[in-house]
């Protein structure tokens, strides 16, 4: 046993604490309501056929249905026909729990629409954040102007303001502008990211001044330098920032919940989870967890793909 075993033990404990909720989420998304309630069935559940009570209820045969079905069941009484029809409905409404949960996730609410909203909102936020943060960070890192240090101090100060503290004034402003229940309400408040400005400024500090001077000698203006010299060298840092930004806004529940009140077409994926909020019977954990799994999957896939660049960006090793 090496001397570092306790470090690994600690790390393993940390990993377990982080992973257990994910494990529960994925596991619940596979199980039937009964298994979830009783806490049995291991990771995958037994995957026994289950009957969707709501589906059966919806197909409860009416008097007209029974009358229409008389030719199919000659010589049977009305109640026998009714029983046969219910059996038929039960057979059609029974399925494996995993299929049930994921179908519900996509059919109960327009999850695809929510996912698309999520993509539109997070992508717009990130793009505008970059458009604002790169020139600002370049000016703060590389240009000399009166009051630069004061401006940078303000940026640092803004990092200290929690979102929740200014949520209400922001909401009121948006409401007065008539922007609640629009994409703009979801995007605009986040377009200036002081964290992004700070992160990119720290990265730009490591870019040699000579490179910028060379670009000026080659005939570039300051904005051209930002987009054609600084941006390409800052890709690792930008990826790191992208992960912070996209994760934060994809997973954000608080802000969309505030500004999108009526219009379900504007729901972002986390708002979609509300659709399965227990309405009395409280039996929708399976579909809810299936929705949650669908929502986090794109992030996990993106992180795995960008993992190497992401770590490069975090360590901010610039041009060395």
């Amino acid at each position: 046993m090496t001397r570092d075993w306790w470090k690994h033990l600690l790390l393993i404990l940390g990993v377990i604490i982080v992973l257990v909720p994910f494990y529960m989420m994925v596991s619940y998304s596979f199980k039937s309501p009964g298994e979830i309630d009783r806490g049995e069935g291991g990771f995958f559940g037994r995957q026994e056929l289950m009957v969707d009570e709501r589906c059966v209820k919806l197909r409860d045969p009416s008097r007209n249905d029974i009358a229409a079905a008389v030719p199919q069941f000659p010589g049977l009484s009305d109640s026998a026909i009714r029983d046969a029809l219910v059996d038929e409905a039960m057979a059609e409404c029974s399925m494996r729990p995993v299929v049930f949960n994921y179908t519900k996730a996509f059919t109960e609410a327009p999850l695809l629409r929510y996912l698309m909203n999520g993509v539109i909102v997070t992508a717009s936020i990130f793009l505008i954040q970059v458009v604002v943060a790169l020139p600002a960070a370049y000016a703060l890192a590389k240009l000399k102007f009166w009051g630069r240090d004061a401006v940078f101090a303000l940026v640092l100060f803004c990092l200290l303001i929690p979102v929740h503290a200014i949520a209400l004034p922001l909401y009121i402003m948006l409401a007065k502008l008539g922007l609640t229940n629009t994409y703009a309400a979801l995007v605009v408040p986040w377009t200036i990211s002081v964290f992004g400005i700070f992160l990119m400024r720290q990265f730009f500090m490591t870019v040699p001044d000579d490179l910028i001077d060379a670009a000026r000698m080659d005939g570039m203006g300051e904005f051209t330098i930002v987009w054609r010299v600084m941006l390409p060298t800052a890709i690792p840092a930008l990826l790191a920032f992208a992960i912070f930004s996209v994760v934060a806004h994809w997973n954000d529940y608080f802000w969309p919940r505030m500004v999108v009140t009526g219009n379900r077409d504007l729901f972002t994926p986390p708002l979609g989870l509300r659709e399965f909020k227990g309405d009395g019977d409280g039996s929708f954990f399976g579909p809810m967890m299936a929705t949650a799994t669908v929502i986090v999957t794109p992030l996990i896939v993106a992180f795995l793909l960008a993992q190497k660049r992401f770590i490069e960006g975090i360590t901010l090793n610039g041009m060395k």
């Binding site: 490179l211 001077d213 000026r216 010299v229 390409p232």
Partner: protein, 385 residues
């Protein structure tokens, strides 16, 4: 191509005055080196000429036109940086073509991806390609055009930086210590190549270096800078043989010039350690001065000689030998150039007497200014006779 003039330029960074009124006129096609110890303001002067820094006062003219207030991009100057400053995300070919693209293509044609489809873009791009190939060929980096700067050696990066500077036809080339990141051997080779490039392009070069050997070997004129001033601007041989000030004499030449303390008698006669020398100052008055003697103007004397000491150290370079002599009463050793054949007779501790060529002796006053009215007494005596 154009000449360039710097008129009484000063530069302050807060309280510190980095340039204290520098004037310099550089002719079209001339190779001028700005040389001096670090912190003398030479790089600042170059950056002011380039337009990367703004002077506190004074004027810069390029081709007779003042460039006051003009951006670096509009001054039509090319610059090579000490760190090469290549764009890390672009290939060698793209790096070299940047200055041309920025000047010859319009905004639409410069767009990534779609730029190539804009009207006229293809012609401009092929023109630029041929210029880049020509420059790469001249610098023998044609085979590297597709590589990224990160994959190149220091010498290759240096050539790419040169290539990027020379693709367009600038009014002047500015080089800021371009050789200081190269190893000694490559530095000597590149030094010769830059000098050849200058002859071939017949362009104006301004070359900043702290290495006086580079300045001496490449330039038409060298401007020796110290403490924010140009002390002397002259051809290398003049700066070496006929310096205006003691600082110039000490900075130029390797090994360093020997400086000996002198006393001036009331008649103007010079003496070293109470031994009268064969030198006098016309119209001199009693005081102290310094005598500058290059190592090659000293020789070993058999008999009486003004400088006497013992051999303290010697360096044999093969073709010549530098002997350091400990002279009693002097803090610094006197360096003498000798033939390597003499090494047997110059072992450590050997007492030696040194005489010198009075014609080549340089006399400086107490402030370090050159005293030119020096005459040999014996010559005057013989003339009288």
């Amino acid at each position: 191509m154009a000449g360039l003039s710097v008129e009484n330029v000063t530069k302050r960074f807060g309280e510190t005055e980095v340039l204290k009124g520098v004037s310099l006129v550089i002719a079209d096609g001339e190779f001028v080196s700005l040389v001096g110890p670090s912190g003398c303001g030479k790089s600042t002067l170059l950056r002011i000429i380039a337009g990367l820094e703004e002077q506190s006062s004074g004027d810069i003219q390029i081709g007779g036109q003042s460039v006051a207030g003009q951006r670096a991009a509009d001054r039509n100057l090319s610059m090579v940086f000490q760190s090469y400053a290549l764009y890390p995300h672009l290939s060698v070919g793209e790096n070299i073509s940047v200055p041309l693209k920025m000047r010859r293509m319009n905004g639409l044609q410069q767009l990534p991806l779609v730029g190539g489809f804009m009207p006229g873009a293809r012609n401009v791009a092929s023109d630029i390609g041929s210029v880049v190939n020509q420059a790469a060929g001249m610098l023998e980096i044609g085979h590297l055009l597709d590589r990224k700067p990160g994959q190149l050696s220091g010498g290759q990066r240096q050539r790419v930086a040169l290539g990027r500077a020379l693709v367009r036809d600038p009014a002047a080339f500015l080089l800021d210590e371009p050789l200081s990141n190269l190893d000694a051997k490559l530095r000597v080779q590149t030094r010769a190549e830059i000098a050849q490039l200058h002859r071939r392009l017949d362009a104006t070069f301004i070359y900043v270096t702290h290495d006086q050997v580079e300045a001496m070997t490449m330039s038409d004129r060298i401007a020796v800078m110290m403490g924010g001033r140009i002390l002397q601007c002259a051809a290398p041989e003049i700066a070496y043989e006929d310096p205006d000030r003691i600082e110039v004499a000490e900075f130029i030449g390797s090994p360093k010039i020997n400086i000996l303390p002198l006393e001036i008698s009331s008649e103007g006669r010079l003496s070293f350690h109470d031994q009268p020398l064969d030198l006098a100052i016309a119209g001199g008055s009693r005081g102290v001065a310094s005598l500058g003697l290059r190592p090659e103007t000293l020789w070993l004397s058999g008999g009486e000689a003004p400088i006497r000491g013992r051999v303290a150290h010697s360096e044999n370079l093969g073709s010549e030998m530098f002997v350091q002599v400990d002279v009693p009463g002097l803090e610094e050793r006197v360096t003498l150039r000798a033939m390597p054949e003499l090494r047997a007779s110059l072992t450590l501790g050997t007492p030696v007497a040194l005489d010198f060529d009075t014609d080549k002796a340089l006399v400086f006053d107490a402030d370090g200014a050159r005293m030119r009215k020096v005459r040999r007494l014996s010559a005057a005596a013989s003339e009288v006779a």
